[in-house]
Symmetry: C2
Subunit: 389 residues, 2 copies
């Protein structure tokens, strides 16, 4: 298999008469997806030997829906769909039943263990999540020591545009991913750097640092980014999702590291924590066990669940004690967001009832849709402007 | 299409009795690739409806070689290959002729416009390129202004382990990718952060900052990472590969930005530049036109080519003038590396002859193999220890 570099040079040296604007691009005979001016979207793949080509996209209703693509007489399969609202979409092809990315679309995002093709439909959401011609923050992949988890671990630190040039100290949002994800999730599917760039430049959000950790307490980093695990018994077995170990490491290891190495305001009123799904569970843990650390909490797509199912305790007395501690700490914002079709909607309803019954005030944001990155991107864009004000 | 987060929770809530070590991982019924203790490698894909499954890997000889996988009676296709030397390998499957990544291998790397599956065979090279349990540097994605190219542009800056804690000023290596690549190339296929981590911790290379730019003068960043291009005529048309525009922007825009924002030693003897293929061409341009800026040059897989084919000039008198300037600047290292099977081997031979004829001393490293990332990773691991000493 030749490298792109070799192909590029062979092309230049042997084939092309030179055009000034196209010389670094390989010829790309098949455009997929093509988004036309009327926002219709066409997917294409050349597959003369395939019996059947289908596509599955996250805009389709239902679990695992596949739509068949139509073959023309050259063997080009094609599907044109009606306009979709502005959004970031992911999809896969199935070639005779085998799931693949779109071979003609360079844009790929990873959701946990799955790689999928990606595109954006222009418009409001694409502008909100997109790379616009505005000042951009810096995204750092940083290793830190976690004695609590007995691991060196990888995280992302986003510093906003202007951080380097200024002496101003900034507040920090600790942003947590969901189960099956890792430290990459908020920077790829979550579009957090782009969302923050755009909110900050428009004055909607205050400049802030965003810290995106790996919330799996047994992992150092995403697949391929971590050293091979040591097999020493128990060494990397800090307990399950409900153990609270990751949350303890956030408080004891991550926050001191950030406050030592970045120009931040190291107090409660300048710390926020928010997470989706498993990260929402971790946010709940932190609000109950460490309300002295944060003044802003954002619980996305999560609520009251039976923690014994996650290796934790299901102790109503503890829960009330935690809430009393939280009340006493007088947080500035306790924000809950959930979609009407979220499979955890009932748990969010239970959480609200628990808080209402115990006279704790919070802000609730109910959206359309379910347990999706579309919602979490929007939630971030709604939460960030409420922080540190 | 459900998100991984939803799948993870559904799994936990409905199916699994809970095991403490596996709760964040989806069940992965098919292991591919599997590398056994005797280093045999097995690729697998479940494709009962496919007529034919083949695999193409960068370890196979020749252009576009495909090897057929064998179907068993359940529809699982499989291929076991003999042990490969320790190395990082890329491959794709073809499902009834359609190129795909391996759906069961989460590791994907992008080479220009192509996404391919990746694995490492343990051993010497995997240790050299791998994430080991050693102190790691920080990798930053940084935007900078390039008035020369009329663009805000994205680059990577690697700072070695200990940079934050120390006050020591460091030297800088400017590391350039090849044609068809972009700023991601050296951090993904090139494994530069891992190679530098490993060389620095073992004392083989001096701690240094490594700056990895986008060498395509009309581009702000890799696909999807840049704002939509402005269509204003000529605005983003700074000329072709041979125009020297990128190289001018490196000297006028990138280096001042780095020296303002990082703790570096801002002089010639503490600057190195090296690149592969197109980046080697850029290194040659810089050695001829800005020898006052760098003391170390590394030309990988490149030599004398007819620059008029790349939108530049082919002026032997200019070339001699450039070399005289370079000689006068007395660089500490001029290093040329090329593989015996590289399709640009003759151009490297021509470069050496030109330098010999003009009595300019350089160090030449000839390797096996061709125009490949395997070679470029090894070249980086050989060049870095020679810098700043």
């Amino acid at each position: 298999m030749k490298t792109i570099q070799q192909l590029t040079f062979l092309l230049i040296l042997t084939v092309l008469s030179f055009s000034a604007s196209a010389q670094f691009r390989m010829p790309k005979p098949i455009l997929s997806p093509e988004i036309t001016a009327d926002s219709k979207i066409t997917f294409r793949v050349f597959a003369p030997e395939a019996k059947k080509m289908t596509i599955s996209g996250n805009w389709m209703p239902g679990w695992g829906t596949q739509v068949e693509m139509m073959r023309n007489d050259t063997g080009l399969y094609q599907l044109t769909i009606n306009p979709l609202p502005s959004e970031m979409y992911t999809y896969t092809f199935f070639v005779d039943g085998v799931k693949t990315i779109d071979p003609n679309n360079v844009m790929v995002v990873r959701d946990g263990t799955r790689n999928e093709s990606m595109f954006m439909v222009p418009g409001e959401k694409a502008t909100m999540y997109g790379v616009n011609d505005v000042p951009h923050g810096t995204l750092q992949k940083v290793w830190y020591s976690s004695p609590t988890l007995n691991l060196n671990r990888l995280m992302y630190v986003y510093t906003p545009a202007g951080y380097t040039e200024s002496n101003e100290k900034l507040p920090v949002l600790y942003l947590l991913h969901g189960g099956g994800g890792d430290e990459d999730a908020w920077t790829t599917l979550g579009r957090a750097p782009q969302i923050l760039d755009n909110l900050i430049v428009s004055g909607k959000a205050k400049p802030m640092i965003v810290v995106m950790t790996n919330g799996n307490p047994g992992d150092a980093a995403a697949p391929g980014a971590a050293p091979a695990k040591k097999e020493t018994a128990g060494q990397n077995n800090p307990g399950s999702m409900g153990s609270g170990k990751f949350e303890e490491s956030l408080v004891k290891d991550v926050i001191p590291f950030i406050e030592k190495n970045y120009r931040v305001i190291p107090n409660k009123d300048n710390r926020a924590v928010s997470g989706l799904s498993m990260g929402g569970m971790q946010t709940l843990y932190l609000s109950n066990n460490h309300p002295e650390v944060f003044s802003y909490f954002g619980v996305m797509s999560m609520g009251l669940v039976d923690m014994s199912r996650f290796g934790g305790k299901n102790d109503p007395a503890e829960r009330i004690k935690g809430l009393e501690k939280l009340k006493a700490s007088n947080p500035k914002l306790y924000w809950i967001a959930c979609g009407k079709e979220d499979f955890l909607f009932q748990s969010a309803t239970d959480l609200r009832k628990f808080l209402d019954d115990n006279k704790f005030s919070y802000v609730y944001h109910e959206s359309e849709g379910g347990h999706t990155w579309t919602n979490w991107r929007i939630y971030l864009s709604e939460l960030a402007p409420k922080l540190f004000k």
